[in-house]
């Protein structure tokens, strides 16, 4: 079972990213997954968070108290949700937008995610696929195809994520499952 939290602000597309990831696991890999998000008075333009759990059997409790992976695209997300990362977990964050302090017991992975503008959320997926065994990149590509057809921008954003990991010389992690 792999537990991921993505957080950002409205418009960054992190909820869509979460859905695509979970969809890839469920529809392409025959696994189980849940995706949920928190709304609030501030949903619009405010902080958003989505919880994704991927598992080989039915996922019951869909909220995450202790995530394996936390991806952060906005500083407010760091402040609000850093406590949800399990000790020793993986913290992926935008290296421009988010400042991470030393106190967090986590593997820190800064990345130039937001550089990719509107495709940043898809780039994040690429990074995740390259970095973890969460889902196979091909599965994600299939979902991208179903959702957006041939629109190449998405594939480019995704590949950018994949290559970022190798560019930075990071090797795949074994988290979750």
């Amino acid at each position: 079972m792999l537990k991921l939290i993505f957080t950002g602000v409205g418009g960054q597309g992190i909820i869509t990213a979460g859905i695509i990831l979970a969809e890839a696991a469920v529809l392409e890999e025959g696994r189980y997954a849940t995706q949920s998000q928190s709304y609030g008075a501030e949903a619009r333009g405010g902080l958003t968070r989505t919880d994704i759990i991927i598992s080989n059997r039915e996922v019951l409790y869909p909220k995450i108290e202790q995530a394996h992976i936390l991806a952060i695209l906005h500083q407010r997300g760091y402040t609000a949700h850093t406590g949800t990362l399990r000790p020793g977990g993986v913290l992926i964050f935008d290296e421009e937008a988010v400042n991470v302090d030393d106190k967090t017991d986590a593997r820190r992975i800064p990345m130039p995610i937001l550089e990719n503008g509107r495709g940043a959320n898809i780039t994040l997926l690429g990074i995740l696929c390259a970095l973890t065994a969460a889902v196979d990149p091909e599965a994600v590509r299939k979902i991208l195809h179903r959702r957006y057809g041939e629109d190449s921008a998405n594939y480019e954003a995704f590949d950018r994520g994949l290559s970022l990991v190798s560019e930075r010389g990071l090797s795949p992690l074994l988290v979750g499952f």
Binding site: I19, A22, E23, V26, L27, Y32, A33, T34, Q35, S36, Q37, Y39, G40, A43, E58, V59, L60, Y61, P62, K63, E65
Partner: protein, 383 residues
């Protein structure tokens, strides 16, 4: 090939309704139910079926009743504030015996409350929101698969019993996405409307029950001209204040549901065979409860879960028997104990029934349940 989706609960409900043959929807948007209307506004027109956005919830249910009477499988969807507004029309549907499905996606109440947060506070309103004596069927579900099935079941029961059926589920289920495997055609049997065999021009009595209690219908506007009213009425549908007619009609309305608890008890059981501690839960809270059961079993604790899918008529016998076989029972829900009170009512040893609940708009967690289990010598806590 299997048709698998990864979707929100509201979509699962919508797909269930379409599977059931729902062909008439009237509604007014409200969080957290709006996705149902949104999806149907796309899906119904190409099928030539009716989607209409009404001016408010009152009009929505009235239109649904009108649609149903003319032969449609009709539905509306709302949340607490809208459901409150529907009570008068809901009573009409009960009285005039109009099959239809009312989806209430629960959010935090009372009043506007917590529009985007999870709660299970409308259980008792589903039973008693209408003025006057009556009986009602209310179902719920704790997963998308179950929600799909119970949506189909809601339509089936509405047709079988000629009554409105309430489908209650909560914001968590509504908005969470998970896997749904759509049953193939025919996999879940559908109950179609029981039509009268009385030929045109022969005296048709819309409110004359058959021996099995079912009332054959005739599409309003079709072969038979009759009257429909919210007043007490005779078997032709004409108003009557005759005491025996009144007593007879009310007894019929109640008996057809309360008297059929057996046919209406839908539950799921997990690890109950040898359980010493029983959790009883429903809706999204049952997910947490089941999770807790599995975690307990992993530690060798003999815990089981009885998950209710019928909320009303309350599955008395089933619950009483289940509770009788264990040392203690913990009802897990996200309100002040609405089902807990029912369980206590039917349990032979109510003092061995406890409450693990949550009322702060947050989803109930396994630790919330374990806390209660730890202090089980005490009583249910509001946490």
């Amino acid at each position: 090939m299997k048709d698998i989706r990864f979707i929100q609960g509201n979509e699962a409900c919508t797909l269930g309704a379409l599977y059931a043959g729902m062909d008439f929807f009237a509604g007014y948007p409200i969080t957290p139910s709006s996705e149902i209307a949104e999806m149907l506004s796309g899906e119904l027109p190409p099928r030539g079926h009716t989607f209409i956005q009404m001016e408010d919830e009152i009009a929505s249910l009235c239109a649904v009743i009108g649609g149903s009477l003319t032969g449609r499988k009709a539905m509306t969807a709302t949340s607490g504030p809208g459901f409150s507004l529907m009570q008068e029309a809901l009573g009409y549907a009960v009285m005039a015996e109009i099959p239809c499905v009312i989806v209430n996606v629960m959010r935090g109440g009372p009043s506007t409350g917590l529009p985007t947060q999870v709660s299970q506070g409308d259980v008792n309103q589903a039973r008693w929101g209408i003025h006057g004596d009556h009986a009602i069927i209310a179902l719920t579900a704790g997963s998308h698969q179950a929600l799909f099935e119970n949506t189909v079941r809601a339509f089936n029961l509405a047709e079988t019993f000629r009554t409105p059926v309430i489908l209650l589920y909560d914001e968590l289920i509504a908005h969470m996405r998970e896997r749904l495997e759509i049953p193939s055609e025919g996999e879940i049997p559908l109950v179609e409307r029981l039509m009268t065999s009385v030929p045109r021009d022969v005296d048709y009595r819309p409110y004359l029950a058959r021996e099995d209690g079912r009332l054959p219908m005739s599409d309003f506007g079709g072969a038979h001209r009759y009257n429909v009213t919210g007043l007490y009425h005779d078997m032709w549908g004409f108003p009557s204040t005759d005491p025996s007619v009144v007593r007879g009609l009310l007894s019929h309305l109640v008996e057809k549901i309360e008297g059929r608890e057996n046919e209406l008890t839908f539950t799921r059981e997990y690890e109950t065979e040898d359980a010493e501690t029983l959790l009883i839960s429903y809706g999204s809270a049952a997910r947490t409860a089941r999770q807790t059961v599995y975690e307990a079993r992993d530690k060798g604790i003999r815990m089981g879960l009885l998950e209710l899918e019928t909320l009303w008529p309350f599955p008395e016998r089933k619950v009483r028997d289940a509770v009788a076989g264990v040392n203690e029972t913990v009802v897990v829900e996200m309100n002040l104990g609405q089902v807990f009170e029912q369980v206590r009512r039917v349990a032979r040893s109510p003092e061995r029934v406890f409450l693990a609940n949550r009322i702060d708009g947050r989803f109930i967690t396994p630790p919330d349940i374990r806390k209660v289990l730890r202090i089980i010598a005490g009583k249910g806590v509001w946490a």
